[in-house]
């Protein structure tokens, strides 16, 4: 299929539809509004259901219900709206239900602003909702990658019966790039025999539940979920490494920031400084081994984590490199986007030993 020029938000919506998601529940918020708007137009045409709920909390619980009934379903929002959804996300994870949640991140905390940010990393990767659970968190850096990850995300969610989050930012949501919706091989997914579809007396009833009053039962349930997480950590890690061979310094960045970092790396290259990039594509599971491997290389003298936040992923980078090399941080926040020139400035400071 030929490439089409599309806005990130709309491309994500189209990718979801092509992945077989015919149910969308959401509530408007900038900078992701083109996504539900696209769904509102397209889903009725194909016999799906778009519903603008009365709130984010209602919307995520509709996702909970639709997923429990076996539907491929999604919601989308931006930071403050995602906070509202967190209770429902915890219930969905606790009930072992698949769904896709898209967060087009804007600056926070509180109502914050509407400009792009990455300050929801902690919320996405470390819980957000209560209890022992994990979400698979996918972080695209191009619109093409967003499209591909949406399609993969639904499969991952179904395979492990767990919520998956696509974590992007306002830049990716708003910008346009050429995308191709590739025909995909059908993946062999287990039938959803657990879904509450009405049993008409011919099978035992299915119950969707996250309540376990007995402590031992709850522990067993959580341990069972965590055995899935072990599998996910073994098989679902995705990472891009760029220019790392022979690099003196390695930048850690994801999403839009990784693209800006690449521009800085090109500038550094012209100035004779060799800089690499490790770009986590899955933020959870985090590509720990990749960071550790490069930290053990003699030519790599230090790491510089760059984020549109006050420093969140930087903690996972430090945990991964186990103190083998120093890990510096540079971030802009509140919706301010770092420039390649600023990042180059930080690179020079680290290389020149003037970063404390």
């Amino acid at each position: 299929m030929a490439k089409v020029l599309m806005k990130g938000n709309e491309a994500i919506a189209e990718a979801a539809i092509q992945a077989g998601c015919h149910y969308f529940f959401g509530y408007p918020i900038t900078p992701q509004n083109e996504l539900p708007a696209y769904m509102a137009k397209r889903l009725p045409e194909i016999g799906g259901c778009f519903l603008q709920a009365e709130s984010e909390i209602a919307a995520i619980n509709m996702v909970y219900g639709a997923s429990g009934a076996g539907a491929r379903v999604m919601t989308s929002s931006s930071s403050p709206g995602i906070s509202l959804k967190m209770e429902g996300i915890s219930y969905i994870a606790g009930s072992e239900l698949p769904c896709l949640i898209v967060n087009i991140v804007r600056g926070g905390p509180g109502l914050g602003g509407i400009q792009p940010a990455q300050s929801d990393y902690f919320q996405a990767t470390k819980g957000g909702g209560h209890g022992d659970y994990r979400m698979v968190v996918l972080a695209p850096s191009t619109i093409q990658e967003a499209v591909d990850l949406v399609m993969d995300g639904f499969d991952i969610a179904d395979k492990y019966r767990n919520p998956v989050m696509l974590l992007a930012d306002g830049i990716l949501g708003q910008m346009m790039e050429p995308v191709e919706f590739k025909k995909r091989e059908a993946i062999d997914l287990a039938e959803k025999t657990w879904a509450t579809t009405g049993h008409k007396g011919d099978r035992p009833r299915n119950i969707i539940n996250s309540l376990f009053i007995n402590a031992k039962e709850l522990e067993d349930h959580v341990n069972k979920i965590y055995r899935k997480y072990e599998q996910i950590e073994k098989s679902q890690v995705r990472v891009e490494t760029y220019n790392c061979e022979g690099a003196d310094l390695i930048i850690a960045a994801y999403g839009s920031t990784a693209r800006i970092a690449k521009s800085a790396i090109e500038m550094a290259d012209k100035a004779g400084i060799r800089v690499g990039l490790i770009r986590p594509i899955t933020l959870w599971p985090f590509p720990r081994d990749s960071f550790k491997k490069w930290a053990e290389r003699d030519h790599v003298k230090s790491f510089l984590t760059v984020e549109m936040s006050k420093g969140q992923m930087v903690e996972d980078v430090s945990l991964s490199i186990e103190g083998k090399k120093p890990n510096y941080f540079f971030g802009r926040t509140g919706g301010v986007v770092p420039t390649p020139e600023e990042i180059l400035g930080e690179i020079k400071k680290v290389m020149g030993g003037t970063r404390g």
């Binding site: 020029l5 346009m176 050429p178 800006i260 521009s263 020139e341």
Partner: protein, 186 residues
């Protein structure tokens, strides 16, 4: 060595002047020619009467940062846009301004400035709204690494069946802009 040419534009004007669609057409045309492109709109809390702008990259290499901080070209459709983005043009870059609405000269000597009375030309053509196409035609003639035919093709695709009748006047506007550049350079 492969041609790593990368054109990085800032296009800015009042809301309603067709700034966003000018950028989209350029990106679309680049895509049709198999180039790497990106289009990034400003979506911030812009003031009424202020500027709306977009960043466009048309490149032979993959697009890294989609944000244009140092522009190879600025297309300014109104005065506030010129004031805000004049300094973002890199030395050796070009600046096309809508001299119908911008009544000052640009002092910089390290960039090439083209004064295009785009609104006036558009009015003469019979539709003030094609001022953006005058500037697009001028840009392509001056610097663009896309062909006008590709832009016309993109225009036809973007316009949809109900607006095909607007294609010819936009095409005329682009040609007018291009001929103006040829006059200015000769």
């Amino acid at each position: 060595m492969a041609d790593q040419r990368s054109d990085r534009l800032i296009i800015a004007g009042f809301g309603g002047q067709g700034v966003m669609s000018l950028g989209q057409l350029l990106a679309h045309a680049g895509m049709l020619e198999g180039k790497n492109v990106s289009w990034l709109p400003s979506y911030g809390p812009e003031m009424r009467g202020g500027t709306s702008n977009c960043n466009v990259i048309v490149s032979n290499a993959p697009v890294a940062s989609p944000i244009v901080t140092r522009a190879s070209a600025l297309i300014a459709l109104n005065m506030p846009s010129l004031d805000r983005f004049e300094s973002a043009v890199e030395p050796g870059g070009i600046l096309l301004l809508n001299s119908s609405l911008i009544n000052r000269r640009v002092e910089r000597e390290d960039i090439r400035v083209y004064y295009i009375p785009a609104s006036k030309i558009a009015e003469e053509l019979g539709n003030i709204r094609v001022a953006n196409s005058v500037l697009l035609g001028a840009y392509i003639e001056a610097r663009g690494n896309v062909k006008r035919e590709s832009v016309i093709m993109a225009l036809k695709e973007v316009m949809g069946p109900s607006k095909q009748d607007l294609v010819p006047i936009n095409e005329r506007a682009m040609k007018k802009g291009a001929s103006l550049i040829r006059e200015l350079t000769n």
